[in-house]
Every structure is written in structure tokens, then in C-alpha cells.
């Protein structure tokens, strides 16, 4: 389990995260919702130190980090090896083939031998239906295919948690569905995930827990049923603002 306590982050005098505390249960899918600019991505990126909060603490299994103190490279390495990230624009490495995108970190960072790293990568590619694309370069693939590969890349390092930052926001609806299907499977298999999304339907389908973030604060922290069935005024405003009804 990941638990964070009293996390604050400012960008240029703007308080983006305001004293946030919550928990991300293991084996579950936690979905972070909220309007644009509310601090969702910042919260997610605090968990792997792509963003460095000024204060607060994180407990992750046996690892404890205080953001206000200097963080040793060992601690930051350990934190990042427990997580991996899927980005909105997938951010595959364009200079590497699909297979090498997936095996690069296992070989260079985790020191796996090439053969087993490649076998694992091919299995992952097969799982997302892209095994015949192993030797292509990312630029030869569609956005949806690239995002599926980036999911493989994130799984290849055997993370405890996968952090997903609006993984389908840059995709056409048809391509989005292919990606969502894979994420749904992962969620069903009990992979710990933390997902930022704007897709309410999908959130409702996969979330075990929902965090609703607004103006850098957590306005709702609870079960998916409660969020959609017993919304407070704020949530209702948010939900009605993004649907046509």
C-alpha cells in the first residue's frame, strides 16, 4: 500500500497540492478525477518524484520518504523501481524498436539477460496483440498501438504500481477502446493501478476507489458507488459539467 501524508506543492506561488493525505490500496485500481488544472497529474507525479513536493511524506511498503528533506539516490531509485508510468502521449523512445523500448530498462537497469528480457517482452506484446510489431519503430505505429506498447514497457519492469496519466486522452475513440480493454484486464487481474482520467464511464467500470481533486484538495475520497450514487453538490456540478444531460 502507498500512503501519503500532508503533501504540498507550489508552482510559481500557485498552490497546486494543498496538504493532501490519502491511501492507494494494493491490488486495487484508484482513479483520480477532477477538473483540468486541479492537481491530478501533479499528485500522480509526486508518487514517482517526477514532481518534488515541498513538504509531506510517503510510505510505500517498507520505504519511507520525507519530501521536505533531501532524498538519497537510493531512496529515489527504490521508489521508482516500485512504480512505472504510462504517459498521455506514451513517450516511447523513437530511436528504439518496439522490442527494445520494452527490454531497454530490464536489460540496462535491472541487469536481466537479453534472452529472458526479450522473451518476457514478446509475451507482453502478445498479450496486447502486437507481437508481429516487435521489430518496427514507434513512428510506424498508430497512437493506440504505441500506447499499448508503452503499457508493455511499464509492465516489463515488474512494478508494484502502475501510474497512468490520462492514458487515452490523446486517442480517437476507436483506439481508446483498445487501450481501455487492456487496462480493464489488468485491473481485473488485481494489478495495483493509479489512474488519472477524464473518461467517467471507464472510471465507473474499473475504479475500486475514487479520489476527486479540486483546487489542490481532495474533495472526495471513497468508494466508486458512493461517488456516482451519492454525489455532493461539488461532484454533481463536475459531473453535469462534463456530460450533455
Amino acid at each position: 500500500m502507498i500512503s501519503i501524508k500532508n503533501i504540498s506543492k507550489t508552482f510559481d506561488d500557485k498552490l497546486v497540492l494543498n496538504n493532501i493525505s490519502t491511501e492507494f490500496p494494493s491490488g486495487k485500481t484508484t482513479v483520480i478525477l477532477g477538473p483540468s488544472g486541479s492537481g491530478k497529474s501533479t499528485l500522480l507525479r509526486s508518487l514517482n518524484l517526477l514532481v518534488r513536493p515541498e513538504k509531506g511524506e510517503i510510505d510505500f511498503s517498507n520505504l519511507h520518504i520525507d519530501y521536505s528533506k533531501s532524498i538519497s539516490s537510493n531512496d529515489s531509485f527504490e521508489l521508482r523501481s516500485k512504480t512505472s508510468m504510462v504517459f498521455q502521449n506514451w513517450n516511447l523512445f523513437p530511436n528504439l524498436t518496439v522490442l527494445n523500448n520494452i527490454t531497454e530498462a530490464p536489460i540496462k537497469v535491472l541487469k536481466q539477460d537479453r534472452k529472458s528480457a526479450e522473451d518476457h517482452a514478446k509475451q507482453l506484446l502478445k498479450d496486447v496483440g502486437l507481437e508481429e510489431y516487435a521489430d518496427r519503430y514507434p513512428s510506424q505505429l498508430s497512437g493506440g498501438q504505441q500506447q499499448r506498447i508503452s503499457i508493455c514497457r511499464s509492465l516489463a519492469v515488474n512494478p508494484e504500481y502502475i501510474l497512468l496519466d490520462e492514458p487515452t486522452s490523446a486517442l480517437d475513440p476507436e483506439l481508446e477502446t483498445q487501450v481501455l480493454r487492456i487496462l480493464k484486464n489488468l485491473s481485473d487481474e488485481g494489478q495495483s493501478m493509479i489512474l488519472v482520467t477524464h473518461n467517467m464511464e471507464f472510471a465507473r467500470m474499473v475504479a475500486d476507489k475514487i479520489l476527486f481533486v479540486e483546487d489542490g484538495k481532495i474533495e472526495f475520497d471513497g468508494s466508486t458507488e458512493d461517488f456516482f450514487n451519492k454525489p455532493n453538490q461539488r461532484i454533481e456540478n463536475f459531473l453535469s459539467g462534463i456530460t450533455l444531460k
Partner: protein
């Protein structure tokens, strides 16, 4: 006319092989090394350790000063200072090494900015993706950022190299018998300035054309991973 041209060629080509090409190649290699080092110093910002930060700050200042100095003064003046100027403070350098030093420092200053801008052109997202996979800064540079930056830097670096080949003619002014200097000597004997200088111009053009072919080949290789390329 052809007789004059043909009889002058052995001397010109000897000068080309002995000085023009070696000076260009050696200076470009040294210049490139210097450029990569200074570009990295200016590009990287070390985060944690205070002592490292302090040293880096000094290195950055030195690198910036070097780039500024050699971009803001004429190459010919730089060669004169190294070859004719330094002896008066007791630093005697032979013509050939003086030329190599001058051309390397000059090329390095220009190429440094080329490489730095190529490094900056690789999006921050690539660094983020690498960091989340626990690549170190060195690994990210080596496996992810450099291979992408080379593609961007290749055309301007080729320009620098081609420019350098032609600039080696300035070495004649510090007593080196390179191709252009030899052509002047031949003119002094046969009084055919137009013909001889056209011939030497053609020889420079041949070298530069071969280099632009090399550039095209390298561009194709480094572009391989982009749209339409075959794996």
C-alpha cells in the same frame, strides 16, 4: 592548357593529402570532442551535492567563455595569435600543431552550440519516461537522448566540417604548405593565376561534394527510425 593542369596536379594532390585533409579531419575530431564536453557541461544541471554544484558552476563559466571567445573573433586572427603571438611569451608551437589547435578550438566552439541545441531539442518527456524506468542521467543520455540528438545535429555539423575543409586554406598564412599555398607557388612559376586557382577551387569542391554524399548517407542511417524507415 590541359598539360599545365595535369602537370600541377601531383603537387596539389600531395599537399591535399599531406595537409588539407589531415588538418581538417584531426581538427574536426578534436573539435567534436571539445564540443561534446562543453555542450554537456552547459546542458547538464547537477542537482544534489553542493560541492559538485559549485565546481559545475565554474566549469559552466569556463565553457561559456571559451565558446564566446572563439565565436567572437576571426579564425585568421586566432591562428595568428597561436602561431605568431604566443612565441613572444615563450610558447613556441610548430606550424602544423598550431593549425590543429586553432582549427580545433574554433570548430569546437561552433559545434558546441550545435550539439547543445540538439540536446535541448529532445523533449523533456523523453527524460521523464527514462527516469520513471530508473535510467540514470548518463544512461538516459547514452541510450535515449544522444541517439536522437545526433540526428538533429548531423546537418549543421556537416556544414561545420565542410566549412572547416575550406578554412584550412587559411593555414597557408601560418607557413603551412597546404593545397592553396602550393597553388600560389605554382602560379608564381607558370603565371596562370586564373587556371590554377580554378583548379584548386575544383579540388576543394570535389572534397566537399564527397563529404556531402557522406552526410546524405549518415542522415539516411540516423533517420532510419522515423516514418517510412525499415526496421
Amino acid at each position: 592548357m590541359w598539360q599545365t593542369v595535369i602537370s600541377s596536379l601531383p603537387e596539389l594532390i600531395t599537399a591535399m593529402l599531406k595537409f588539407t585533409i589531415p588538418i581538417a579531419i584531426l581538427s574536426f575530431i578534436f573539435g567534436l570532442i571539445l564540443a561534446i564536453v562543453t555542450a554537456l557541461i552547459k546542458f547538464i544541471t547537477p542537482s544534489e551535492n553542493k560541492a559538485v554544484k559549485g565546481i559545475w558552476y565554474v566549469l559552466k563559466a569556463i565553457a561559456s567563455f571559451y565558446v564566446w571567445l572563439f565565436r567572437s573573433t576571426p579564425l585568421l586572427v586566432q591562428l595568428f595569435i597561436i602561431f605568431f603571438g604566443l612565441p613572444s611569451i615563450g610558447i613556441q608551437i610548430d606550424a602544423f600543431p598550431a593549425a590543429i589547435i586553432g582549427f580545433s578550438l574554433n570548430t569546437g566552439a561552433y559545434a558546441s552550440e550545435t550539439i547543445r541545441s540538439a540536446l535541448m531539442s529532445v523533449p523533456q518527456d523523453q527524460w521523464n519516461a527514462a527516469y520513471t524506468l530508473n535510467f540514470s542521467t548518463r544512461q538516459t543520455l547514452q541510450y535515449i537522448v544522444f541517439p536522437q540528438a545526433i540526428r538533429i545535429a548531423l546537418p549543421p555539423l556537416s556544414n561545420s566540417f565542410i566549412g572547416l575543409v575550406k578554412d584550412t586554406s587559411l593555414a597557408s598564412s601560418i607557413t603551412i604548405l597546404e593545397m592553396f599555398q602550393v597553388s600560389q607557388q605554382i602560379v608564381a612559376k607558370n603565371y596562370q593565376p586564373l587556371l590554377m586557382y580554378v583548379v584548386v577551387a575544383a579540388l576543394y569542391a570535389i572534397i566537399c561534394t564527397l563529404l556531402s554524399w557522406l552526410q546524405r548517407y549518415l542522415e539516411k542511417r540516423t533517420n532510419r527510425y522515423l516514418e517510412g524507415g525499415n526496421a
